[in-house]
Each structure stands twice: as structure tokens, then as C-alpha cells.
Symmetry: C2
Subunit: 315 residues, 2 copies
């Protein structure tokens, strides 16, 4: 299998082709074949509200890791990211610069319109990059919804980027985001309100710190000038070491694999249901009766589920 060899060596065109197949055709055959070569890449999630400078951070982190001779895969799931083509021309040029490096592979995920299945596809793409020999996979997402929470599940370290500005909408997003953060970055750290944001964050994190055994660090950066990036990368590194030392790395990874299996089963069952159980003419009749309120959907759901599992439980 020349194709597989090329992929495992990280040959850029083959990596790109493989990702396209995985993304568009939903074919799990390739993923099945490459799975045994995965598990080596360290996954870093970078998330945060629009305008937090996530791409600039990703860019800066990638450069630091490049200097250490690491191979880096970047996945941008953020529709406002210059990686995904959503931002200003200047940004995009800067990113293209990074994409030309031998040891960097950048992929943006189409997220406009349909967000369903996006998290799953991101995980699949990460698997391909993992197999292709990347040391680090950086995943950039916009921090506003379920997709981020789902994608955080694939990351070993999740970095949440915030900026000292804006009002309640960002406050609200922060609330959900802090729960998935391992490392917090306050970017644009030269702006007014930076110190009070850090104080607020420390206050918000206080409760979590006692529980989890990891002192959630807050790193101040000015990503556009490279300020604080070295510290950020060192902090991510120390989180990695914490995970390994405490046994949480293996535990978390196993948890993620379990979740992955669950998701695969659920997906299979869903399509099975549509094919075998629900796609009957009978269903039309049932729906009509539900519409007329002569039947209720809870009862129907119970009946169908029982039918599926009754036999199984006897086995």
C-alpha cells in the first residue's frame, strides 16, 4: 500500500487527499486502516470568542513548536479564522506563510451552514493528521456552542483565549468556556481592563482549582508581538507533564476512546433505525395519528425501543 506509506510519512498531498475522502465521503474504511498508527500526536484546542486573536495565537504557538523541530497539524473550525478564510487579507497572508513550511499542515473545516457532524469530522481529520506523524495537532474553534464542547473532548489540553474588552455576550460565553479550559490566555494583554479580567477569572476559577488537582494557569499574551507565547507554550507543556505524571493522560484518552465507540455505535444505530425500524409505511399512519393527538410520541418511542431490545435481552 504505497498510499498508506505516503500518508504515514506525512506526504502533504496524500494527507490532503485522505482528509478530503474522510470529510466528504464519510468512509470509515480509511480510518479503520490508519487507526493503529494513531495515538502519538498531542492535541491542543484553542478556543474563545470572535476577536480574541485565536489564529494569531495558533500561529505563534506553531512557530514556537517549529523551532523545537516538531511537526504540526492545524485544524481551523472557526468561521472567523483567517485559516478558514474568514478574516482580513493581511491575516490570511500571514497564515499562508506558515502553511508553506515543510513541517506544517493546515486544514480548515467548512462550518458555514451545517454544523451537524462537524465535531465528528474534526475528530476524523485529527485522526488522519495523527497517523501522518504530527507531533502536535492544534485545533482552533470559535467558542460559542456545543461543537466546541464536543471538540474539546478530542483535545489533551484546551486553551481558552479571552480579551479584556466587550460586554455581556463575551461574559456569557466565558461562563461555558471556563469549564473546558485547562489553560486560560488573556490576549491583547496591553489593553485596558486586562488586570481586572484576570482578577475576575481567578475568582471564577477558584472553585474549580480545589477540585481538579491542576492549578488553572492564566497566561497574559500580546500574540501579535509574540509577547507571552514562550510562557504559553511552556504552560501547555507543563499541563502535558501534569497529565502524564498523574496518570490522567491515559485515563482521559481511554475515556475519549470510549466516547468515540459510543458515538460510532449511536451513529450506526441511527442509520439502522432509519433503514429497518422506522422506514415503514406504517410510520406515516402513526404520524398522522400523532398529529391528530390520538397517539403520543412518547408511547410510540417506547414501543419501538422495546421491540428492538426485547429480543436482545433474552439472548
Amino acid at each position: 500500500m504505497i498510499f498508506l506509506k505516503k500518508l504515514l510519512k506525512g506526504e502533504k498531498r496524500t494527507v490532503a487527499q485522505t482528509i478530503s475522502v474522510v470529510e466528504n465521503e464519510g468512509d470509515t474504511k480509511i480510518l479503520e486502516n490508519i487507526f493503529k498508527y494513531t495515538g502519538k500526536a498531542y492535541h491542543i484546542g484553542i478556543t474563545g470568542p470572535p476577536g480574541a486573536g485565536k489564529s494569531t495565537l495558533v500561529n505563534a504557538i506553531a512557530k514556537q513548536l517549529l523551532e523545537k523541530n516538531k511537526k504540526i497539524g492545524i485544524i481551523a473550525v472557526d468561521p472567523t479564522s483567517p485559516f478558514s478564510g474568514g478574516a482580513l487579507l493581511g491575516d490570511r497572508v500571514r497564515m499562508t506563510d506558515l502553511a508553506l513550511k515543510e513541517n506544517v499542515f493546515i486544514r480548515s473545516m467548512a462550518s458555514r451552514g451545517s454544523l451537524g457532524g462537524l465535531a465528528q469530522k474534526t475528530k476524523d481529520v485529527a485522526l488522519v493528521l495523527d497517523a501522518s506523524g504530527m507531533d502536535y495537532i492544534l485545533i482552533e474553534t470559535i467558542g460559542v456552542g456545543q461543537v466546541e464542547l464536543d471538540i474539546a473532548q478530542v483535545c489533551d489540553t484546551t486553551v481558552v483565549a479571552l480579551v479584556p474588552e466587550s460586554g455581556d455576550s463575551i461574559q456569557a460565553m466565558k461562563a461555558g468556556l471556563l469549564e473546558i479550559a485547562d489553560v486560560i490566555v488573556v490576549n491583547k494583554g496591553d489593553r485596558e481592563g486586562c488586570d481586572s479580567l484576570i482578577m475576575e477569572l481567578k475568582f471564577a476559577l477558584d472553585l474549580r482549582q480545589q477540585k481538579a488537582g491542576w492549578h488553572y494557569p492564566i497566561v497574559k499574551t500580546i500574540a501579535t508581538e509574540g509577547v507571552g507565547i514562550e510562557e504559553l507554550v511552556a504552560t501547555i507543556q507543563s499541563h502535558k507533564e501534569y497529565l502524564k505524571r498523574s496518570g490522567r493522560f491515559e485515563k482521559d484518552r481511554k475515556e475519549k476512546l470510549k466516547l468515540h465507540i459510543h458515538e460510532l455505535i449511536e451513529e450506526k444505530i441511527k442509520s439502522h433505525l432509519k433503514e429497518f425500524v422506522i422506514k415503514d409505511d406504517e410510520l406515516e399512519k402513526i404520524i398522522n395519528r400523532v398529529y391528530e393527538r390520538k397517539l403520543n410520541p412518547y408511547h410510540i418511542a417506547d414501543e419501538i425501543t422495546n421491540k428492538i431490545f426485547k429480543v436482545r435481552e433474552d439472548v
Copy 2:
């Protein structure tokens, strides 16, 4: 059942209690009991990016409907909404004002942190409000993710609110949002850039218009001053009439019921899986082998799914 009687009459305290039970305990018994009294309320979704003035629009629409002697339920799923307690004090006071009216019931959904299941819970709450005799249910969501798309499924008319300002991030959101819009509102219509936004929108909607048989209207409003609200309500009304006239109302509603049944079944199967099929000691061993890359998750998922369905197919 005095309780049920009170609920059906829309007694506010009973409605609130019922919603709390449904929201917190995940008990479908109540929903099963009230289902036959539902199907009468018309569901209007109001979505859009932060700062589009969605709550002010909801507020204004509700007032218009109140004047027509309608009973109105409001569900706020937007963490930046004054209904949910996310916005400025001034806004919140204005909303409280509305909440005191006899014919208005307002409920905000806790969306901070965990977004999983939020769409389903919103649908459940809407069902309670429907049973409680509301003529209209207004559902306000922040337009940034999967949850909106899921909630749009429960709405008969989806209104997308935009403002003539801001850059790419909103552009990006618009892209996904337009696909679920039945009516588009350009709010803060006195601001610069309003006309060019309308032109852009018209251009973007051109392709859709031919397909769907409904001329997607764009309504210009200044919600804070009540400008354009009458036209907006009339437009929603005409969408309602279009749906009824064309037979799409019944068709869409049946489609939604079908989806609801699907979701219920999937949920049941999920918990079944956790209880019966996957919660084995054996799974630990399997996961360990997957972690060591000696097994792959795709194969495992196949095996388990086949086990479930093999017997069923023989029946």
C-alpha cells in the same frame, strides 16, 4: 387532576412548576399526559447574532400580539438576553414589565455551561406552554450554533434578526442563519450600512426564493422605537397563512413530530446502551486494547451494533 386543569387553564404558578419538573427531572410522564392538549400554539423563533436586538424585538412583537388579545409564551435560550438575565439592567426592567402582564409567560433556559440537550429541553418547555393555552410561543436564541438549528425545527416561523454593522464574524453567522430563516429582520434600520445589508441579503436569498415558493421578506425595524414592528407581525402572519394555504403547515408539523419520535427513540437507545450493552466489565478490557491500538473502535462499534440488530432482523 386539579393540577392538569390548572395547567390547561394557564395558571402561572402551575405552568412554572410543570416546566421546572420537565426541565430538571427529565420526566416524560407529564409530557405524555399533556401531549394530547398540544398542537394549538403557533411557534415563532427569533434568532440572530449578539447585539441584534432580539429581546427588544421579542418584546415589541409580544406587545403587538397582546393588543390582539393573544396569550403569549416566551422562551429565552440566549445567554445574552435580558430575559435570561444576561443584559443591562435597563433592559431587564423593561422585560419584567412584560412578565407582569396577565397573558404573558416568560421562561429563560439556563444555557451556560452545558449546551447538550438544550434544544430538547426547549422543545419540552414549548410543549408545556402549548398545553397551557398559549396562542403564540416566541423562542429567542442566539444565532451561533447547532442549538439554533435544532430549535428552529420546533418553530413554524423563524425570524432571523441582523444589524447593519460589524464584520466577518457576523457575515459568517449570517451564512448559516439564512438557511433557517422564513422572515429576515434588519434591525437598527437607522444605522449606516442598512441599505447595503438589505441588498446583500436580497442577493443571497435570490436562489432560495425560486425553490421554496415563499418570497423571503426582509423587514426593516427600529425595535427600540417600535418602528416596523407592525409590519413584522403582519409578515409573520402572512407566513402563517402561506403555510396553512399551501398545506406546508401540516406537512412541516408532521415532519417535526417524526423527528421528535426519532429523537426520543435515539435517546432511549442511548440509555439502553449504557445500561445493557456497553456497561460491561468487558468494555474496560476492550478499551485498554483499543488504547494499545490492538483493536480499533470501528470494528468494536460494528460488532456491538450487529449484536443488537441481528436478532431483531430475524423477527
